[in-house]
Symmetry: C2
Subunit: 378 residues, 2 copies
């Protein structure tokens, strides 16, 4: 049976359309003040001047060679991700598109895929749709519990791959420690497993630890990068780094949709060339760190000991006593939007709310958490 | 086993990259002189002025409500496609993305899907990838042979759906007659079959017959529209019209990639509002008709009785004596690019070449066909 399910995120976004929302804790979009709108306005004009009609022709599978080159030349170093000589960069229409295509390549019906528990619901939906069952491994302040992972593998579990978001985890906000990263890579090598590293928050985070990809000596890490948090999600540009065999398969499946706009690929390529990335990374990581501190204060005041403590990224969880799905409408009446996160748990679900501080302005965070507390007090 | 195959189109495009091509008969892109580049330059600025950062946030599943509304208000009537009250418009990242998602929804492993023989290789690749086998029904100057279709259905064949490109067929250039359209719809009703109408060339064609969708009384036609031929393929905007149940499933699966850029959806929406469509349709249909006439003259001179006679659209076939895959490199040496079309036949393959007159300038068509003849004389 095919699984058709609305994402908890998309669901609350739909039911709140045309409603006035003052406290939007639901969105995964970046802070409006950080999106380089003016720069893109200029870049769009430059692309049209330089490429003319060619910016409007069909994209090829795998992406624009200019953009691939510029990601390698101007971007990977800055974010601390390395590219092995036996690997390639493939452009996709956002990280989510990369996960979808990888699922189509890697997953066979009946496979088991290991994910963090809780995990990013939308990220794992394509994995489930293509026939895998998810096995959750719990996550704590040091990230995925690699000791438990090792245990279940030793007992004979044969997963198809491991999908995780080790840096600024969605939804907990945790960061995997270096030791656990090292341990995970050892395990991947020992059991010959692919590790899919979903890593959208790295460029907007203060001093993140090295990516799994950059620590990876055996070529088992498939890296998924996103331009959505650092530049803008409306462009739909992400990339995958993997070995040449998988890279070719991704390109081949891109023939199914050719969904990444030629024009926006050229615009993204030009944005990288202009070297605005570094300044943007600094601005973003400082701004989100400031927002995070406000959030932590509010959480400590209104939900003491009932939240996961975010280190970076956009998200964390608040644990609640009542089913948060039922209170969404009440919250909307108070002009507050959150994502019920209970379904982010693939095992042992816990009533919880995902708090996102990407879109909401810093001035609204404290009051918003107060309102949320009022809603869940009743 | 999963099917990983390069499209014959993508393949020749890749091997000719960085080679000088004077006669490009391979591309499916529209004529550069017809792409409204200046208009889009202005529209892009207007979108940024009007929406600011909001044009750069995440797109929702199903597409921008502005664009959906404007397709209904400013576009469907003009191209002669009707929307029933029990149907919806869903935005996709180009027609190909629509076919891909429909394949994921409709196809179960082992299904049979009926297509024209020959058919559009890229259009049917996702259908094959998701587990269907294709059954070809031949096509002649009146379109799909509905009598043969009726015969095999009467004999007990139970296909999952019928995929076809009845207007300006890719690759033959044929147009399905009204009688055959009527017959097909009767058959679809009698055997309770979905008919997927892939219809990208309608807006750039002179007086096309009514769409199957507009003749459809039973709601069995799923219509796939494209903005790629009339506006530009680099925007990656198409749409699907279908009943509310399938429409919801398409939206749900769009959560797997969210691949249609918010910015470009708003730009397309604005382009429709500006009412440039009618003038563009007229200019395009006249220009391509002119190119088609030049092509017909050249075909009659150099390949008499060895070609399918195109009525409209970008494509037709030339039949050749030798395996055209082998001659691609020789043709590139003569700065000519074509697509070997043998693999466009799902049954009884015939050595053939697909000729596309979208991208090539009208001045090059006649000489190009002459060069092609020289290549296939040797």
């Amino acid at each position: 049976m095919k699984i058709f399910e609305w994402s908890p995120i998309e669901y609350v976004s739909m039911i709140s359309r045309d409603r006035e929302i003052e406290y939007n804790f639901a969105s995964g979009s970046p802070d409006p003040s950080l999106i380089p709108v003016k720069e893109f306005e200029k870049i769009f004009q430059e692309v049209i001047e330089e490429y003319g009609y060619r910016a409007f022709l069909y994209p090829g599978a795998g992406g624009s060679s200019e953009l691939v080159r510029n990601i390698e030349k101007y971007y990977l170093d800055k974010i601390g991700v390395s590219l092995r000589s036996d690997e390639e960069i493939v452009i996709v229409s956002g990280a989510q598109h990369g996960i979808k295509i990888l699922s189509q390549i890697l997953v066979e019906k009946g496979d088991i895929v290991i994910v963090e528990n809780p995990t990013f619901w939308e990220g794992v939906y394509p994995i489930r749709f293509h026939g895998a069952s998810l096995r959750g491994v719990s996550i704590d302040e040091e990230g995925l519990d690699t000791y438990y992972l090792e245990k279940i593998l030793r007992e004979g579990l044969k997963p198809r791959f491991i999908y995780l978001n080790p840096t600024c985890h969605n939804p907990t906000g945790y960061v995997m420690s270096i030791d656990r990263r090292r341990h995970l890579l050892e395990i991947a090598e020992r059991y010959d497993l692919y590790v899919v590293e979903d890593d959208p928050y790295r460029p907007v985070s203060k001093d993140p630890p090295p990516s799994l990809k950059s620590m990876d000596r055996s070529g088992r890490v498939i890296y998924i990068g996103s331009m959505s948090k650092i530049f803008a999600p409306g462009l739909r540009i992400g990339f995958v780094i993997t070995n040449k065999d998988l890279a070719e398969k991704i390109k081949i499946l891109e023939q199914h949709d050719f969904s990444t706009s030629t024009f926006l690929q050229l615009a993204m390529s030009k944005a990288l060339e202009k070297n605005i990335t570094e300044a943007l990374m600094k601005r973003c990581s400082e701004h989100y760190d400031m927002k995070r501190k406000i959030l932590l204060e509010a959480l400590e005041r209104y939900f003491p000991e009932r939240y996961t403590r975010p280190v970076c990224g956009f998200f964390n969880l608040i644990y609640v006593d009542k089913d948060p799905e039922i209170y969404v409408e009440k919250a909307i009446e108070r002009r507050l939007l959150y994502v019920p996160a209970t379904r982010f748990f693939v095992e042992n679900p816990v009533y919880s709310i995902r708090i996102g501080i990407g879109l909401i302005s810093s001035e609204k965070i404290f009051d918003g958490i107060k309102v949320l507390r009022e809603i869940f007090e009743k």
